[in-house]
Subunit: 94 residues, 2 copies
């Protein structure tokens, strides 16, 4: 699956509800999902992890990040190419 | 670019520094990038946006999310497939 496929999937399925909500509320929803990811990562860190739930939380954060990108007119593939591929990208750390 | 390509790119380039840092510190770095994305989105909302900077912040958040997925043993493509494609995925809202 390409990053562009994901952006299109999210656009096709959720554009109507996403655009009605607006960027500030969508960012709140996004951060709620980050909280759920934090919880799943913290459980893993404490030795009480659920790998299937963890994967689901990653999917949700990625889906909401994609929603925000769509509503902001940002092409994620192009953004990654410019930052991480052109000129070899940042070295050592991001 | 596929999501798997991105996961491999981040693994190839940053695995050594990422794995030395560990998941809790990596999560802190990730949230720092989310703060920068929030700032770029808020500027746009206030009519003072910089679309190029906004795209860069999206790239950084996606790169750090990918780092966290790598260090957690999560395949993002598989996670998206399971949550958003199998059975048609969640309808209406995510």
């Amino acid at each position: 699956m390409t990053i562009a496929d994901l952006q299109q999937l999210i656009r096709d399925r959720y554009h109507a509800t996403d655009s009605a909500r607006g960027a500030p509320a969508t960012f709140l929803w996004f951060v709620e999902e980050i909280g759920e990811l934090a919880h799943a990562l913290a459980r893993k860190q404490r030795g009480d992890g659920d790998q299937e739930n963890l994967a689901e939380e990653f999917a949700d954060v990625l889906a909401w990040l994609t929603t925000l990108a769509n509503s902001s007119g940002v092409d994620l593939t192009d953004a990654i190419r410019r930052k991480y591929l052109v000129g070899g990208g940042p070295a050592g750390t991001k």
